[in-house]
């Protein structure tokens, strides 16, 4: 098959979405650590970028498969519009000051494409995805609460020096951040380039006969690099202000929030865990892209519940819920209208 240069133009919307994800969601992983000056921004950005790429490359397939089942967008133009609709929604919501999830935006976009193309939406898959949007933050809170209690109980009993706790917390934040970035890459890469998989221009190749790099992995790598560019070029401001967003939290609480967030994203992305659960006759966890922002908010609220709901900004929490509800609809509508123009004005084959 000959390489079609137009694919670069079509991929641009996905790469833009990746850049937006990197610039915003890196703060979920390293925001408090950088905001509280526990870790320098450059260290955080480099660790975040490297592990994001690794997560996307090695573990990105699981969540992408599920997203593909929701709507297999067969043409590059259709995929372009779906990703662009998601990116515009993310941009509009961010401008309006509403916290936003790229996961919900891309799902809204895919459903918009399904409606436009007359492709029936798999309600079972859609229900699974919708369920995980509620389950994600709840699970993060459920992990954060006992983890925070245990951590605080351990610190009280251990009588560690304040400075020693500080040193351990720094290392903990780096390790948790690396895990978080890996999980974010694994779980959210599907949002960025998942819609381009059916029309991917890449072909698999061997590295010296030892490792086969699939077409999907090449696409994931490209998307992950776009996310990394977002992290390295635009995440600093977001990270510096994230500490004062939902409510001030201590570095230890931040560590708990990042670990909980990362576990949730990892659970919903790990094919290895899925096959292990299946082989042991246990119920499996659906491999679905979940919102990184909502997972971290769930964890922070969980910790706040333990502290008697102190320090939570309810107004902002309300905004998050509103953003949660609006995003998929907005992306779906933009995608539908955009596809109409792309097909009828620009004469593109969108399905």
């Amino acid at each position: 098959m000959q390489f079609d240069p137009s694919i670069i133009i079509f991929l641009s919307s996905g790469l833009f979405l990746g850049w937006a994800l990197g610039s915003n969601d890196a703060a979920n992983v390293f925001g408090t650590a950088v905001g509280t000056r526990m870790i320098p921004w450059l260290t955080a950005a480099i660790i975040c970028s490297v592990f994001l790429v690794l997560g996307a490359f090695f573990s990105g397939a699981g969540a992408a498969d599920t997203l593909g089942k929701l709507g297999s967008i067969s043409t590059p133009a259709g995929a372009f519009m779906t990703a662009l609709a998601a990116a515009i929604s993310v941009y509009t919501m961010t401008k309006a000051g509403l916290p936003v999830s790229t996961t919900q935006a891309i799902v809204g976009g895919i459903v918009g494409w399904n409606l436009f193309s007359g492709t029936p939406t798999d309600t079972k898959i859609l229900t699974t995805i919708l369920t995980t949007w509620i389950a994600g933050p709840l699970l993060a809170a459920a992990i954060a609460m006992p983890l925070y209690s245990l951590t605080m109980a351990f610190l009280r009993r251990s009588n560690l020096h304040l400075l020693r706790v500080d040193a351990y917390t720094r290392i903990g934040l780096i390790v948790a951040g690396a895990f978080g970035a890996y999980s974010l890459g694994a779980n959210n890469i599907a949002n960025v380039v998942g819609v381009f998989l059916p029309s991917s221009p890449f072909r698999e190749f061997d590295i010296g006969g030892y490792y086969t790099v699939s077409a999907a992995q090449q696409l994931f790598l490209l998307g992950a690099l776009a996310i990394s560019v977002g992290v390295l070029t635009y995440s600093k401001g977001v990270m510096m202000t994230v500490g004062s967003s939902l409510g001030r939290i201590s570095p230890i609480a931040a560590w708990v929030a990042v670990v909980s967030h990362s576990v949730v994203l990892f659970l919903f992305a790990s094919k290895g865990l899925e096959s292990w659960l299946a082989s042991n006759g246990l119920p499996t966890i659906p491999l679905v892209p979940v919102s990184s922002s909502q997972a971290v908010v769930g964890a922070v609220v969980g910790i706040a519940v333990l502290k008697g709901m102190a320090g939570i900004r309810w107004r902002l929490l309300g905004k998050i819920v509103v953003g949660w509800a609006i995003t998929p609809f907005l992306a779906g509508i933009i995608c539908f209208i955009g596809l109409f123009f792309l097909q009828n004005v620009f004469s593109q084959v969108v399905f």
Partner: protein, 217 residues
Amino acid sequence: MEKLRLFRRTKNLEHEIDEFLSKLSESAILFKLAIKAYLREGCGEDFDSKLTEVNALESTADVLRRRIETELYTHTLIPESRGDVLGLIENLDDLLNYFEGALWAFHIEQPDISAEFKSGFKKLTSMVVAAVDSLVLAARAFFHSPLAVNDYNHKVMLYEKEADKISTKLKSQIFASDMDLAQKMHLRDFVEHIDNVANWAEDVADRLAIYAIKRMA
């Protein structure tokens, strides 16, 4: 390597903070011994040697304080509690200044303390030093087990209250005596020199209680 450096730096700083607190504790003991020596034999050799030792401890503690402050800021350690730790170290350092100042006042002004007031001065000094000792324990607890800070702070408050009672009684006795007004006022100043140490210890304990609450939040 960076992690190893972080732990080495942390260990050094822990050691410096411990050393600083030990200097304060030693100063309190020397202060008590110096006052006893003064009450026994005036501004003699024993008193002067204790004064010299307190001076040396104060200078060492100043060096340690500056080193701790520089380390904390240069390497942005404990960013959440840094302000509290620096405030605590500076406030504790003021206690050393109080000790040194009071002993210098004895050395320069050489107040004439008659026998009937000596026991009061001794009791006051013991109570003040007990308050500082408890404060040092509270400060050590702040770094290792903030929950225990209140137990020691409680003792600081108790000793400060007792010191206030003793100083009030002592001042009443001084002003009820047949001495000249000038001498009465002179001795009152020395009661206050000593009592001020306990007052400041109580102020520091109050702040320490807040720092400990912040650490446990």
